[in-house]
Amino acid sequence: MREGLQRFTRTHEFWLLIVLIVIGAGLTAADSSFFTLQNLFDLLTSYAFYGILAAGLLVVLISGGIDISFTATASVAQYVALTVAIQYGATWFTLFLMAALIGIACGAVNALFIRTLRIPSIIVSIATLNIFYGLLVFVTSGRYIYQLPDWFAHGIFWFEFEDANQISYGINLQILCLACAFLLTWILLNRTNIGRQIYALGGNPDAAQRLGFHVFGLNVLVYCYMGFMAGIASLVQAQLAQSVAPTVLVGKELDVVAAVVLGGASLTGGVGTVFGTILGLALLAIIQNGLILLGVSSYWSPLFVGLVILVAVSTTAWSQNRKHRRMVAA
């Protein structure tokens, strides 16, 4: 136990947690409305979309790949699934099934190009981002959908309770899906042999091949998992926004990449944890939220986010270099 704790203090996650606590404490001191149940629920709800995507992207990054087409995938999944639901009717189950299947199909396209033609994943996903998005905008002419089915617009609200100010809280669709996405990803990565194979593949692809891993299958799984998460996230976002807009999601992919990398995942593969990703996302969320609460103009937000990422990544690189030097000296 002690040893485990000692190991933890040397991890990226530990430092992230410290930073998060410091910033959180600072914000709590500066603004009493930060550390309130209401604000935390709002944060969870509004960042659920990013969180679900981050869970999917984490798996892709660990496998040694990258995918930035997921916002386009989400846009397509959202638009098609809800259009079908409006035209022909649907239940929660069939709606989510549709979005998930569309996402998985888009992921499969990525995996196929990346694996069979050995094109770098970044290139493939830049291309498919544009293709999926271009097709959607062309077919829909960029029209928004506002008339969502009532049951969908109403959402879900479990374990409802009210605080002293008669503000009600509960598990809404966003929080439910966010929790499920992180839990599912955690189980996949840490409790299944497939998840461990994904880590191994990212750590040393040649060795994975030599040991007889089904590398193609793993790639398909990873990119389809990303697509699946994009499908789920898309509905979570549509339900929150109460509309479907083909053009608003694309452009947010780098925020998700930033959160996952901030959480310690490596772009070269093999490294990253669900806990780290949660912390990375939380850090981004409270910085953006804190700036708003402090009354800083929202034009400053990208600058701060950029600085935080740069500092975090630099400190990690710095401590890695120091560690390396110590090893060489020893």
Binding site: R7, N190, R191, T192, N193, I194, G195, R196, Q197, Y199, A200, G202, G203, N204, D206, A207, A208, R210, L211, G212, F213, G269, G270, V271, M327, V328, A329, A330
Partner: protein, 503 residues
Amino acid sequence: MPTGNRTARLAPFLELTHISKRFGGVHALRDVDFDIEAGEVHCLVGENGSGKSTLIKIIAGVQPPEPGGRIRIEGRDYAHLNPVQSTHCGIQVIYQDLSLFPNLSVVENIAIGRHLGRPRPVDWSGMRRLARAAMERIGVALDLDARVADLTIASRQLVAICRAMAADARLLIMDEPTSSLTRHEVDALLAVVRDLKRKGICVVFVSHRLDEVLEVAERVSVLRDGAKVGTFEARDMNDHKLATLMTGKEFHYDLTETDLSDRAVVLSVRNLTRAGDYREVSFDVRAGEILGLTGLLGSGRTELALSLFGMNPPDAGEIRLNGELLHLKTNAEAIEHGIAYVSEDRLGLGLVLEQPISSNLVVTMLDRLAGRFGLVAPAVRNAHVTRWIKELAIRVSNPENAVKTLSGGNQQRVVLAKWMSTNPRLLILDSPTVGVDISAKDGIYEIVKRLAGAGIAVILISDEVPEVLYHTHRVLIMREGRLTAEFAPHRSSEHELEAAINA
């Protein structure tokens, strides 16, 4: 002396007969017979391209031999194997790169086989048990939860052996297992191998560093140009005989005293210190002298070399070049002063592998070759390239081919040419022959001698005692950051040097 006349041979575990392999028109293997007895340690030696790796791949089932060959494992015949059959027969190959997963723990690396197969939950405690049992079998204790990336190369090697044990290896093939280990680590590895042998596990060493493996091996098989030269009793062999068998050439190095005391001192180092790296280092190198510098890995020799090259500034002491006091802060300054450095990691730092040979050759000379407006005329560039290819006899079909298409020895010559063309006064060579064949090594020694003959002061850093003993004028031993001994090669032996290094 070929075997066959020794009595009471055990039944072979593995027997290959009439194995050939062609790649296109090239005969990688020609009618090779090869056998391994149960519980035997066998050495497979040969130069690069002699067919060693092809033979391994056939045994591992990665490649099929040409029809007509036969593979017999414990009495069962196979025309060829596939990887699954090979593993099933207990054959495990540890490739040179070890094929480990640096991001995963020791447990997972050892018991990685448990992750294969259909989707299912991970049995962590089962994996730990398996890993522990594997470590016990070879008598090592490693931190099960350590990340492999944080281990030393020697420990990683043990992890790879444990993984083979966990997969129930009965024949362990190790490809160049000692090439990146220090002498102590090699000894530890050989102890493990002796232990495996006692447990009846066959071990095949594939190597071209010979002295050490001869200590544990029973027999040695030599391949040359795809054909087997023969299988010999290890106790009848020595470095010299093996080198001759492998190359078909005689190598003979003389130790003659060379008096350089009348030559000018090029480099003079006094009380050079850098905390954590080296302390109070003082020595001179004269024009035309080859100074050998050796010591264990981590003794500070590479750090010292980097300081002389401006990349690791010392805390105290002075460096003089031709009497001029230098305060080098960058390697660009060092190059300007006529100091050249060929790094240990020749492939990583010395060359841009994907780029043409010609571009690699001119890269250090761009400033000097440039004409007006800082542009380099193609004719000037080509003349420079042609001159150096000829000067160092680099075997190239086309200078515009990528450097990675060259053999190790020729790549090394490109690096040398790159630095020689800058007209250095001091050349620092850090382990220049690591991973290079005997014949190619010989070529490099020739080049180094020629450079020194042209009046360049050379510092040759090496792990290999014979290398510094036979190819330098003077040897310094470094230990724990200090220079601890000096030898004149013609009055010393390998044994004396070994003793000083490991003192």
